[in-house]
Symmetry: C2
Subunit: 105 residues, 2 copies
Amino acid sequence: MTYEAVIIALADPTRRRIFESLRVKSKTVGELAEEQPVSRPAVSQHLKVLKNAELVRVEAKGNRRIYSMEKKGLESLRRYLDTFWSDALEAYGQEIFRRIENDEL
Amino acid sequence: MTYEAVIIALADPTRRRIFESLRVKSKTVGELAEEQPVSRPAVSQHLKVLKNAELVRVEAKGNRRIYSMEKKGLESLRRYLDTFWSDALEAYGQEIFRRIENDEL
DNA sequence: CAGCTTCGTAAGTCATAACTTACCGTAAGC
DNA sequence: GCTTACGGTAAGTTATGACTTACGAAGCTG
C-alpha cells in the first residue's frame, strides 16, 4: 500500500514543486530551499515525506546531502492507476449502470 | 493542470474508498454513505471534490443522484505521471548527477 | 396538498499537517 | 582548535480540510 504515501506526498503543492525541481537536476537542501517560498527546515520536512514515499533518494557528499529523483514511488502509483483499466471490471460496472438506468435494479 | 485536483481528491482515504466503491457499480449518495463510517453530508462533500476532479459523474434519476466512475480524471493523472518517463530528461538528469558525484559542478 | 425521502449547502468544531524559530550535531576551512 | 556552513529535529503556531448538526430545496407517494 505504498501508493498511498505517494499520493499524499504529491498532494502538497510545495512538495510537488520540490519533486519536479529535482526532475531537472539533483540538488542540495539549501539549493532547493532557495527556489521555494518556504524556510529551509520546511524543505527538510517535505524531503522526509518524499523520501518515505520513495520519490527521492539522498546521497551524502561531505557536509551536504544531495537529493535526486527516485522513480520507485511513481511506479507504484502508476500500478495502482493501471488496475482501474481492467476490462472485466469495466464491463461489469457498465452492465450494472445500464440496469439502474432501466429500473431493473 | 487538472491532474492536481485528481491527486488532491485521491489523497483522502475516505474519498479513495468512495471512489473505489464505485468501481464495482454505480450507487446513490445514500448507498455510498451506508458503506462509509462518516455522515451522508460528508459523503456529499467528498463527491463534490471527486466530481470536480472528473473522477465521478452524476446522473439525476428522479429524487436520487446516481454516481458512477469517470475515467477522465485518472487519465489526466496518468498523463502527468508519464511525463516523468521521458528519456531525454532521464539522460540529462543522470548526466548532471554524475557531474556532481565527480565534483565537476 | 401533506408528509416523507433524497441530497446538497451552510455554519461551526476539531484534528491534522504545513509552517515558523530555536537548537543541535557534523563536516569543512582557516 | 575555532569558526562557519549545512541540514536534521523539536516545539509551538497557524491554516486547512474533514467532519458534525441544522436547514432547505426538489421530487415521489398516498
